[in-house]
């Protein structure tokens, strides 16, 4: 096993911050290039006008997912050293629903609002202020929220481990699902383009 480099002690904390900056630049760059720094473009996803968010997000997920699976399969990456987000079913379900509503109200998410602000969008800046205020409300109300926050815990595990199926099979199904989603997204966009042209003429 040769990776993850940081966890194997190839470099220390200070250099990890240099890596953080470089990774961040790449992250911000591709978000902006893909159009994810534009609130109108992001919001259009939720009216079936522009499926860019879905396409960028799922292409990124399957790229990283397949790459990591392959690197672990050839014995390069020790998967047990890669941090997997723990699962808390209800907090993540309720959090997701609220986040989704906030997304269509605000038009940007925490990462993309930075890109939006960096390219001069004032609405991105106001989303950023709002996010700080939301985290502030959470922290101040933490006493009342902590019970719910730690409920329905499954711990750190993956979908293949949860339902006891081979990792490769789940991966294959996710890729199939994503491809079906991409085909659907292209069809939806074409349909809306046609109806838009029709209404304008």
């Amino acid at each position: 096993m040769n990776a993850p480099f940081y966890k194997l002690g190839y470099f220390g904390f200070d250099f990890s911050l240099v890596i953080a900056f470089v990774i961040g630049v790449g992250f911000g760059f591709f978000l902006e290039q893909g159009g994810l720094g534009s609130s109108r473009k992001l919001a259009a996803q939720f009216y079936f006008r522009d499926m860019t968010v879905f396409k960028v997000m799922f292409t990124a997920i399957i790229t990283a997912m397949i790459g990591l699976f392959w690197l672990s399969w050839i014995g390069f990456v020790d998967m047990s050293l890669v941090y997997v987000n723990p699962t808390y079913i209800l907090p993540q379900l309720v959090g997701g629903l609220l986040f989704g509503a906030g997304f269509v109200i605000g038009g940007l998410c925490p990462g993309t609002c930075l890109v939006s602000s960096a390219t001069g969008r004032i609405d991105g800046l106001f989303t950023l202020f709002g996010i700080f205020f939301g985290i502030f409300l959470f922290a101040e109300g933490y006493t009342y929220l902590s019970g719910f926050l730690y409920s329905t815990s499954l711990g750190q595990l993956t979908i293949p481990q949860l339902i006891n199926l081979p990792h490769g099979l789940i991966l294959f199904l996710v890729v199939l699902l994503a491809i079906a989603g991409f085909v659907g997204a292209e069809k939806i966009e074409k349909k809306f383009q046609k109806s838009n042209e029709g209404s304008q003429q």
């Binding site: 996803q45 292409t59 960096a118």
Partner: protein, 175 residues
Amino acid sequence: MIREKKAKPYLNPYLAGVGLGIVLLLAFVIMGRGLGASGGFTSVLTTGVDAIASEHASENDVYSSYLGDRERSPLTDWLVIELFGVIVGGFLSGLISGRIKRTVEKGPGISSGRRLLFAFLGGTLMGFAAKLARGCTSGQALTGGALLSPGSWIFMISIFIGAYAFAYFMRRQWI
């Protein structure tokens, strides 16, 4: 700053996705962790609260967990530096593509003031929700999604359900 320069069209979404995926993969391989955003925001907020009301910050479970043993500032944090990179990367990308523009993005049926109010309210809801879910679209949906974490997939699917369900009420802001 940059005027009358014609904005280039966005990159093909699948290419942008592959680029983003490779950045995420590099984070896994080099650091053993993925990307994030809301966690870094909490570090920044904690620093602010600590500066204004240090005692209050120490007594609060959320802030104190981000303050740690106070050996170094919460700003000396992987996610905070990564977010600084996101701002720089986003700006550079906008610069080379001629997309830096001081504007308020909105649909035709809403005033700029109301749009900014909604941006703030939506942000507030997302900030709160991201803390509840232990991450946002970066840390949960993208990172946890690629790692096949069940909770991250629940979060991601719930985002789409929540957004599509609420989209009708926001239609005048966008279309």
